[in-house]
């Protein structure tokens, strides 16, 4: 992955709204621009601009069917970024560390919610 592509990828990810868009695309592969825009308090044109940035970073793939543009999340650039700084050895332990973090934090959130209820 060349540096220009990495810059585009990181700059596209450096925005909470765009990260939320990727979450929504993962939850609903093939979602239309209109449906995606309904999740944000900004105009469809503004959403489209963010989608274009994500497309340029290769994080989003657009497939046109009829008059509708369907959006898909592309995990490959993130995998390439991960491959750059991990070996199979470090990935093994880093994955376990990440699993522990997710599980412990999830449990803590569950406990907090049950206390509130």
């Amino acid at each position: 992955m060349n540096e220009e592509r990495t810059d585009r990828l990181l700059s596209a990810l450096a925005h909470s709204g765009r990260r939320r868009m990727l979450d929504l695309l993962m939850e609903a592969p093939g979602i239309s621009v209109k449906a995606l825009a309904s999740h944000f308090p900004i105009s469809r044109v503004a959403v489209l601009k963010h989608v274009q940035l994500l497309e340029e970073a290769e994080l989003v793939i657009t497939k046109k069917r009829g008059r509708t543009r369907h959006l898909y999340f592309n995990a490959v650039p993130i995998q390439l970024l991960r491959d750059r700084w991990t070996t199979h050895y470090s990935a093994f332990f880093a994955e376990r560390m990440a699993d522990i973090k997710t599980r412990v934090e999830g449990r803590a959130m569950d406990e907090q919610e049950s206390k509130r209820a």
């Binding site: 592509r5 290769e58 995998q79």
Partner: protein, 179 residues
């Protein structure tokens, strides 16, 4: 059976369309991006031909399918069925588009049956396929980790499920050599 939405994977490869096309359609050597399996065809690379992805020894077959579309240097599509599962076939489409002096390579997997092992494996395996293809075409070989994984596959070959034996998945007039 209900279907999952398509899975789409895309990567830019610093190579010519010819090099990428050769890598995804070759029958003379194992294809690193296809889990080091070798593609065997029942005839020419054309719609209607049957294909089988077999191990280097030819003894085991992981995937079978039928070629749906061949547009050299642009698009290659075939049906795809894991021999290990009873799941219905899905469709894989490879698309090549010249971009920025290289190739934009897209893999789309359609007709994935919901809740099946095929659906699960193809949703995650696509990333590995396009990544390994990029690395193989750009550097001539897959990454060290993937090479190690393929060594492991070879070691584990004898304990593959019996139903995956190539004798159970013949393709007429196979032109790949099973040595």
């Amino acid at each position: 059976m209900p279907e999952q939405p398509p899975s789409v994977f895309r990567v830019w490869i610093d190579a010519t369309p010819e090099a990428v096309w050769h890598e995804i359609t070759r029958t003379d050597e194992p294809i690193a991006a296809f889990f080091n399996n070798r593609m065997h065809l029942s005839g020419e690379l054309q719609p209607g031909s049957r294909l089988a992805m077999r191990t280097g020894s030819g003894k085991w077959t992981g995937v079978v399918g039928e070629i749906l579309e061949v547009m050299p240097l642009v698009r290659f599509a075939h049906t795809f069925k894991f021999t290990a599962y009873d799941d219905p076939e899905c469709t894989v489409i490879y698309e090549l588009e010249p971009k920025d002096g290289g190739v934009q390579f897209t893999l789309t997997v359609e007709n994935l049956p919901v809740g099946t092992k095929t659906g699960k494996n193809m949703s995650s395996g696509g990333k590995l396929i396009v990544n390994t293809l990029k690395r193989s075409v750009e550097t001539g070989r897959p990454s060290f980790g993937i090479r190690m994984l393929y060594v492991l596959f070879k070691v584990l070959e004898p304990i593959s499920p019996k139903r995956c034996e190539s004798d159970n998945w013949p393709i007429d007039g196979s032109r790949g050599t099973q040595s």
